[in-house]
Point group: C2
């Protein structure tokens, strides 16, 4: 189960490898036929909580695409539910039926024991290991405090997350209380995933990039640092993915170097040469094909894959991935072509 | 009507001034009582097309806030309607009832004569001048081709504008055809605004920042450049505002310098020191208080205003503004406090 010799883990540790490993954010999802079949009979959250089915969904990309890692199928809102928020599955994805509206609601939130409250996630990890049988590493994940706060305060998916954004200025102390509780929850949750067998961890701050520059440091970066520090010594590589933080790459690099974070996920807005200049070779770099590029013709797509591999050539730790999650209408054959091109070109 | 001696225009031209000028993006909007009263009796698009009422709404911020410029009340979708798309007013703002779905629909679009098709906008500019009577300059504006393409292809407001994003990879030639038509339309539209009396122009590429780094150059920056070049010699300062382009500030600065663009609008994600380093003093810089900061306590807000003024002190052309538009629930008194602080501090 340690999987230290796998292609992905060696790359995340910037050790010599024979080729570039590849996995895709949201690789277990609606674009895949097996996922669609299973989701036809069960709702999204129930699927997250049914370890054998969640494991089946997690492993489908390994079978269909031959990727170099399996990320567990789950939802970033799972720890919020464990804290005491009610999560339901709406038309546009999971949402909060009763978003936080005042300090009392924040004070009432628990910092849950991850095994007691979200043991099903640990069961998914064990079930996935049972299926992959050491072939590839298993990636665990969580949402970062700012991103989770956006959902906890807004309720439904939003373009602007105005409630969380206003709270930065209207009641920052309450927001910090919420984020500290979320940070403690997420650290325990991720450590429990490692305990259950996760071979690497990714932290997603999907909405970090929407913050004003001062708020970014105080509410996104600060809590990402805290979580990365909380995972220090956990024994598996940590991947930090903050989306849309193009103004803040130097600050992220400084934090990553200070804390010794193993890898940074790059969004598709970041030019590889910029990432290489700013992050250098002191951490692995993961990314960053635009998810929409998977709608290009196969010839064009293969060309873009080679361009990206060339751009990171010479960097000791490049993991091929997208800059964001796979989109639901993505053609499976194009995702297969990406993996094939990576395997044949490097 | 030339207004070359006004505080805003001198600042945009980086000439010496007695203090920092201020205006706010979306300063004529739902947070103001007069706007709400007028909108109670007329729908949004009809208001845009009724010059006397649109002028009244445009001028309200001058009366209520004592700002240093009036931006005309209008909508970025107006030129798309003139090209032949049907715009309607939905629950979540204006949208397209019949978004573009194929090349034939793009080919069918007109490049309209701006005076014939959107003369009401020119009438708004003249009516605003009649009301402000030379007291402050009048700003005209348009959306950039990428942002307008997002709406033309998606129909309704969206978090992702997936249709436009996919077209970059699926049918880039069709997208370029659309964007060239939009660019020609926008250039003529903005030149007609100058003809009607606009004293400065702002181009909004609100969704430029969501593009992958290669697509950003090809679909956002390229067309912004084309429009800025098309306005060269028009006699009024040009302000370029591309939102969320934190990875691309150097490229924007290079273009701005080559074309001689007078001013760049900064979003709230951009640290002032970063903007000062990258743009230097070869263009004016506008921005960039977070719109959400207007929900802070007055004391905190005034402190943030002073910090921002201090950050840009010494730059020859700083225009105070937000990093994005004023939010509907913003308290008017806080916006007034910002203007008051700027007037008393500088």
């Amino acid at each position: 189960m340690s999987n230290e010799n796998s292609l992905l883990i060696r790359t995340l540790r910037r050790q010599p490898t024979e080729r570039t490993p590849v996995w895709f954010m949201r690789q277990a999802g609606r674009y895949l036929p097996g996922y669609q079949r299973i989701r036809g009979g069960i709702d999204f959250l129930q699927l997250c909580k049914t370890p054998e089915l969640a494991a089946e969904v997690s492993v489908e990309p390994l079978e269909v695409l031959d990727v170099d890692a399996v990320i567990i199928f789950s939802d970033i809102l799972v720890p919020l539910e464990a804290m005491g928020l009610e999560v339901e599955f709406g038309d546009r994805g999971p949402c909060m039926s009763d978003p936080l509206r005042d300090r009392a609601a924040i004070e009432a939130l628990k910092i849950p024991d991850p095994v007691e409250s979200t043991g099903f996630v640990m069961d998914v990890i064990r079930a996935v290991h049972g299926r992959v049988n050491g072939k590839v590493p298993v990636i665990g994940f969580a949402g970062a405090p700012w991103t989770l706060s956006c959902y906890a305060l807004e309720g439904s998916p939003s373009r602007t997350f105005a409630a969380a954004q206003r709270m930065i200025y209207e009641s920052p102390a309450d927001l910090h209380l919420l984020m500290e509780k979320i940070a403690d929850t997420v650290i325990a949750y991720l450590l429990a995933q490692v305990e259950a067998g996760a071979n690497a961890l990714q932290l997603f701050d999907s909405w970090g990039g929407m913050l004003g520059h001062q708020a970014f440091e105080e509410f996104s970066l600060h809590y990402c640092r805290r979580i990365m520090e909380g995972l220090d010594g956990c024994g598996v590589p940590r991947i930090l993915f903050i989306r849309g933080a193009g103004n803040h790459l130097e600050k992220i690099a400084k934090m990553v170097n200070e804390v010794g974070v193993e890898a940074v996920g790059l969004d598709e807005m970041t030019p590889p040469e910029q990432a290489l200049t700013i992050f250098g070779d002191r951490c692995a770099l993961q990314g960053n094909l635009p998810p929409q590029a998977l709608f290009a013709s196969e010839e064009d797509l293969r060309c873009r894959v080679r361009e990206l591999l060339d751009a990171f050539r010479g960097h000791p730790g490049h993991v091929f991935n997208l800059g964001h999650g796979i989109l639901p209408p993505t053609p499976v054959a194009n995702v297969q072509a990406v993996v094939d091109e990576i395997r044949s070109y490097t």
